[in-house]
Structure formats: C-alpha cells, structure tokens
C-alpha cells in the first residue's frame, strides 16, 4: 500500500534546520495495522502528514499504490484525501458549530456524495459507532470519547482505504482509550482497511500488527509483534465493544 524511500523532511527556521525526518524507509502492506511509536518531537506527526498527502517531503518518495504523493498536484491530492484517507486527530478537530451528524457529513461534502444521501450515510456510520442517539448534539455537548467516536465516524463514512490516526487516544482517560483502541481495531478487522496509528502509548501500540519506532528522524527496524490473523485477534485487556 505504502512504500517510503529515503524520505526526508527538513524545517528551516531562520538559521536552524530541523531534520524532522532524516531518511525514512518504510513499507506498509495493504490491510496492515501499523503503530508508530517514539518520543516526542521525533517526527511521528510529520510522517503521518506525508502518508495522508497533507504535506510534501523535502526529498524522497512517498508511494501510495504506486503513485508518488510528493509529485501529485494539489488538484489530484484533494480527491485522494477526500476518498482514500481518513484522518483522526488527537484533538478530535470537530467543527464546533456543527452537530455530530453534520460533522460526519462534512466528509461526504468533500467526497461529493449527493446531499440527499449524506444524511442516511452519516446516521448509519454514527449508528455503527454507537452514537446514533447523539447525532443532533454539538461537539461541546459530547464527552471526549464521544467526540473521538464522531471524528472516527467522519473518517470512516467515506469508506477510506487507509485510516491515519495521530495520537487518537492522547486526550482520553485510560478506559476511554481502551474503548477507542478497541473500536479502531475492530474496524480494522471488520473492514479490512489499512490502519496507521501514531502513539507513544505502548498499551495502544501493543495491539498493532506492526510497530515502528521513530527516533532522530529515522525508523528503527519494525518489530514484528504477534502476527494476528484477521478475525482471530486476542484482546488481552478485554476492550468493551461499542
């Protein structure tokens, strides 16, 4: 699905140069669940932005299904972002003035789904995530975990091939964290999507099929965790299902 070859990202701030990514090589297979770990400020978010076509590397290639995202025009990237990638953020990033359902619909606006069908799609996904009864609530009326569910619904409603999550549980308490991770894991298994989760929480990373650690802008050899065949994953912590 992804192949990253010698990817570098350098930020220039005046005289100082920050090498956020300093020669990253990485493969992500289709339908894989990859956890990216590493200490703060090591380039995890930067990597995720490149994977989502939200930023361009300074050098190197970011191949997604054989196309180099670094070379695509903005006009080609926008439809990719709208259909192929789903994003989940640490801070949820819901539009505060829109209800849960409307927030989910924003993703369908981008994917150019006709207005008449948006409502049904959005409600269906919210229902899948156990949020049907909160569809008309504003983000401010929802708990953190509920907001993140809405955000996940927004990422999923367009049926993306890749779900990219940057610290999706960073702002949540432990119980909610387990809930959300369990949810992501279940979605990954049920829908066969590729899941990349950035986290510095080992409890989250432990669930992944693949783990990569970023340090000093480089990916250390991915550790292979329990290769969990789809549908037969053991849940050590007994995550409560939505």
């Amino acid at each position: 699905m992804y192949e990253l070859i010698d990817v570098r990202k350098t930020f220039k701030r005046g005289p100082t140069e920050v090498h956020a990514l300093d020669g990253v090589d990485l493969m992500v297979g289709e339908g894989e669940f990859l956890a990216v770990q590493g200490p703060t400020g090591q380039g995890k978010s930067t990597l995720l932005l490149l994977l989502g076509g939200l930023d361009r590397p300074t050098s190197g290639r970011v191949l997604f299904e054989g196309r180099d995202l670094a070379k695509l025009q903005e006009a080609e990237l926008a439809p990719l972002r709208a259909s192929a990638f789903g994003f989940v953020f640490q801070t949820f990033n819901l539009i505060p003035t829109l209800t849960a359902q409307e927030n989910v619909e924003t993703a369908l606006v981008a994917a150019r789904i006709p207005v008449s069908e948006r409502r049904a799609f959005a409600l269906e996904v919210l229902d899948d995530l156990g949020m049907a009864d909160r569809a008309t609530h504003l983000p401010s009326e929802l708990s953190g975990g509920q907001q993140q569910r809405v955000a996940i619904a927004r990422a999923l409603v367009k049926q993306p091939r890749v779900l990219l999550a940057d610290e999706p549980t960073g702002n949540l308490d432990e119980q909610t964290r387990d809930e959300i991770v369990g949810l992501l894991e279940q979605l990954w298994r049920d829908r066969g999507i590729t899941l990349v989760v950035v986290t510095h929480d080992s409890a989250v990373a432990r669930r992944a099929q693949q783990r990569a650690v970023i340090e000093n802008g480089r990916v250390k050899l991915p550790e292979v965790t329990t290769p969990a065949p789809r549908g037969r994953v053991v849940h050590p912590s007994g995550v409560s299902r939505p």
Partner: protein
C-alpha cells in the same frame, strides 16, 4: 450544509458579526442619506431655477446690457423734469426689462431650437412694471428746504413682475398650461389680446379673480386665469405679443428658455448656444448653484463635499474593518479549516465558505443600512425646514450693475439687489441609490470575504494537526 454552516458560524461569533454588519450598515446608510439629500439639494436648485424661469427650463439665454443701454431705459420710465412752480401729481406706470438686461431679437429662439440637444426653446420677455405716483413739490421750494412751500413730497412706488409668454411653446417657459389652476391658459386667439394670467399669490394679495381687471403699463387687461407658480416666479403673465406691445419692444425678447433633451447634455448644449449666440449669456442650473447663497447653498456644500467624503470614509473604514475582522476570524479557525482540508475539502470550497460568510454579513449590513438610510431620508424630507436661496442679481439679469440694479424682486420693493426663493428640501429616494447601496453591501461582503478567504487559501492542511486550541 453550506448555509447551515454559514449561519452557525456567524451566530457563534455574534458580536464580531454584528460589528462587521453594523459597520457596513452605517456606511451604506450614510451613502443613501447623503445621495438622497444631495438629490434633494439638486432638486431644490432646479426648483429655484424653475421658480425664476419656469418649469422644464434647463437653461436660459439672456443678454447683458451695456451701460449705454441701461441709461435710457431707466430714464424712459421716470423721464421728464417737473415743471416749475407748485406741486405736481405724478402717476406713471412703466413696463421695462429688468435693469441690466438687454433684449435679444426674437429670431434667436429659432437659432437656439435648431441646435442638436435642444428639446425645446421659447422666447419670453421678463419685465417689471413699476408704477410711481405721488406729489412732487415745485422746483423752487421742495428739496432745498427753503421753507417757501408747505407741500411735502410724498411718493408711492409699486412694482410687480411681468412675464411675456410665448403661447404654444409647450412645456418650456415661465408658465405652462398645467400650472393654471383656475380659469384658462392663453388660447391661440389670445396671441396679442389684452388678457393676463396672474399668480395665485398676487391674486390673493390684490383680491383678483378670473374676470378681474388689472393695469399693466397703464393699460387695462382682463384676468383669464390664476396660476399656481413657485414662490419667486412672476406675478403677471401676458401673451408675448401683448407684452412686447406694452413694453414697446416689438420683435424683441429678453430671455430664451431652453429645455435640453438629456440632463447630462446641459453643459454641451450650453457651449453650443454660446457659440451660436456669442453676445448672449447662458445660464444653467449649475451656474445658478454658484450664484445661490444662503441655506440652500450651505446644504449643497454640506452634501456635496462633507457628506460625500464622510460616506466614502465611513465605507472605506467599514470595508477595512470588516476585512480585517474576517481575516482575524479565519486565523482563529486555522485548525477548523486545516481539518476540513485534511478531510478533502478543496481550497475552493473553503474559500466559498468564507466568502459566503462575508456575503451574508454584507447583505445583512446592506439591509439594515438601507432601512436606516431610507428612514433617515424620509426623516429629512419630513422635518427639513424650507431653505432660503438668495440669487444674486447677476444671474437673474446677466450682469451686476451695483446695488441699485436689481434682479427680479419678489415683492418687497423694486430696487432690491437680490431675490430670495424659499424651497422645501426633500431627500428623494431613488431606485438607483438603493441599487448602488445593495451593490456596495455585496461588495463590502465580498471584500470582507476575500480578505478572509485570502488568509484561508494560504492555510496548509498540515496546520490542522499542529495548531492546538
């Protein structure tokens, strides 16, 4: 979604939205008020011109007398030395052009009306009837005060204004058919008849009715109509030929009244007339405005300079503030727009969203501004006092000849140097003003939206994950 989003966002930042909308509203209200008021002032100026020269007149053509022409004219009225010895009664009534103005051949009317851009032209005689009656003591005693005579001098001096009107001149000229409210207008058969139409004011002052008799230049005339004319217009109207006969000015006129086919051509036509009749003085309502002093002139200055600048400045400030506030708003929504970009919204769509918000504010401000502007214009029309416009003699007669040489004088006395016309100031609302206001509102909204959109368009989606808050 699009409109829901706009509505919710504007409501979320209600205070800011109100500041933007009310700022635009203020600017737009000012534009409407000022342009209505200035239209009102222009109307008033036209009214002053019309009260001097009749409805439909866009310009007048007169000729300035040279001194040698003035002299005999004045002497003609009061000529003749009092005979020696004893007091003597004098009663004279003379019809003469206004001092300082000279006559034109009647054929000049045809010259003017043949010019392109002239819709209609008619010739008229603008005259004053001055009657003098009194007792003058004999040359030996009277003025010297030697005491040999007991007779004290006593005078009475009366004057009223008389216009000779070309019959069948259509809508241009000092008196038109529609202004006659009682009796009738001159018919073709009246061309040189001894008939007159008097102004309602004059009729009231002198107890005249249709069928009454008046004296002009000592001749009896029958009143066949009463006309409702504006405050400064002539008292008595005669058929042109009758006036020419009474004033002893056969084949002469003092004034050509010109109406122009399009108001925007006035200055062009004025130049043409000037070229065709080099010795004539051409006066337009714009010239009149320069001659007018008093409250109307202050109102004119107020609306044309202060008002205009004020509304331009207010609009500019409103646009700028709206733009900057929108930009600040967008800056505070970096994460929101970054997120939308991250989930696939095109820059175009985000720009449309921001411009839509600006436009909604512009329309809101526009509606409020138009309502306030209309209210202000209506209020001006309702409460504005009548403004006095004092027209210097030079305009009325075409030349200034010192304090004794008067223009037309409304009623007080024959020798006033200027004449005051009272006009009611209104602020008429014009459809195009509202349209312009609406256009400005939309423009304001677009400017505000564009400022914000410019900021939003430069957002990188990566900022969605960076900016916290």
């Amino acid at each position: 979604m699009y409109f829901t989003y706009i509505r919710r966002e504007l409501r979320r930042r209600l205070k800011q939205s109100l500041v933007i909308a009310l700022g635009l509203a203020l600017g737009i209200a000012l534009v409407i008020t000022v342009s209505s008021a200035s239209a009102g002032v222009k109307n008033a100026q036209r009214q002053v011109l019309h009260s001097l020269y009749g409805v439909g007149t866009d310009m007048t053509v007169t000729r300035t007398a040279t001194r040698s022409q003035v002299g005999p004219q004045r002497l003609r009225g009061f000529g003749g030395a009092p005979p020696a010895g004893g007091a003597r009664h004098i009663a004279r009534s003379v019809l003469h052009p206004e001092p300082g103005s000279a006559t034109l051949p009647a054929s000049d009317v045809a010259k003017v009306s043949s010019l392109s851009g002239v819709a209609a032209a008619s010739g008229g005689l603008v005259l004053t009837d001055t009657s003098f009656s009194g007792v003058i003591p004999s040359a030996g005693g009277g003025f010297g005060g030697s005491g040999s005579s007991t007779t004290k001098p006593s005078f009475s001096l009366n004057s009223f204004t008389v216009d000779g009107v070309e019959i069948g001149a259509g809508a241009v000229g000092p008196l038109t058919r529609t202004q006659v409210t009682r009796g009738s207008y001159f018919s073709a058969a009246d061309a040189s008849a001894s008939v007159a139409i008097v102004s309602a004011t004059y009729a009231h002052q002198h107890g005249l009715q249709v069928g009454s008799t008046i004296h002009v230049a000592g001749k009896k005339l029958k009143v066949i109509g009463i006309a409702n004319v504006s405050s400064g217009a002539a008292d008595v109207y005669l058929p042109l030929a009758t006036a020419q006969k009474l004033a002893d000015l056969k084949g002469k006129i003092t004034t050509v009244f010109v109406s122009v086919s399009s108001a925007s051509h006035v200055s062009t036509v004025a130049a043409e007339v000037k070229a065709a009749l080099p010795s004539a003085t051409v006066s337009t309502s714009a010239d009149l405005a320069n001659e007018v002093s008093g409250a109307l002139s202050s109102a004119s200055t107020l609306t044309s300079s202060l008002g205009r600048w004020l509304s331009v400045a207010a609009l500019a400030v409103a646009f700028l503030v709206a733009g900057l506030l929108m930009m600040a708003t967008v800056s505070r929504r970096v994460r929101e727009f970054g997120t939308l970009k991250a989930i696939g919204w095109r820059t175009r769509r985000i720009v449309a969203q921001v411009v839509g918000e600006g436009l909604a504010l512009g329309l809101l401000g526009g509606l409020v501004g138009i309502a306030v502007g209309i209210a202000a214009a209506v209020a001006i029309s309702a409460v504005a006092p009548s403004l006095g416009a004092t027209v210097g003699s030079s305009f009325a007669t075409g030349g200034g000849f010192g304090p004794l040489v008067g223009g037309r004088v409304a009623g007080s006395g024959p020798f006033g140097g200027a004449r005051t016309v009272l006009v009611h100031l209104t602020a008429p609302l014009q459809a195009h003003t509202i349209a312009i206001a609406l256009g400005l509102a939309v423009a304001g909204g677009l400017v505000a939206g564009a400022f914000g959109a410019w900021r939003a368009a430069r957002l990188r989606p990566a900022d969605a994950l960076r900016s916290v808050g």
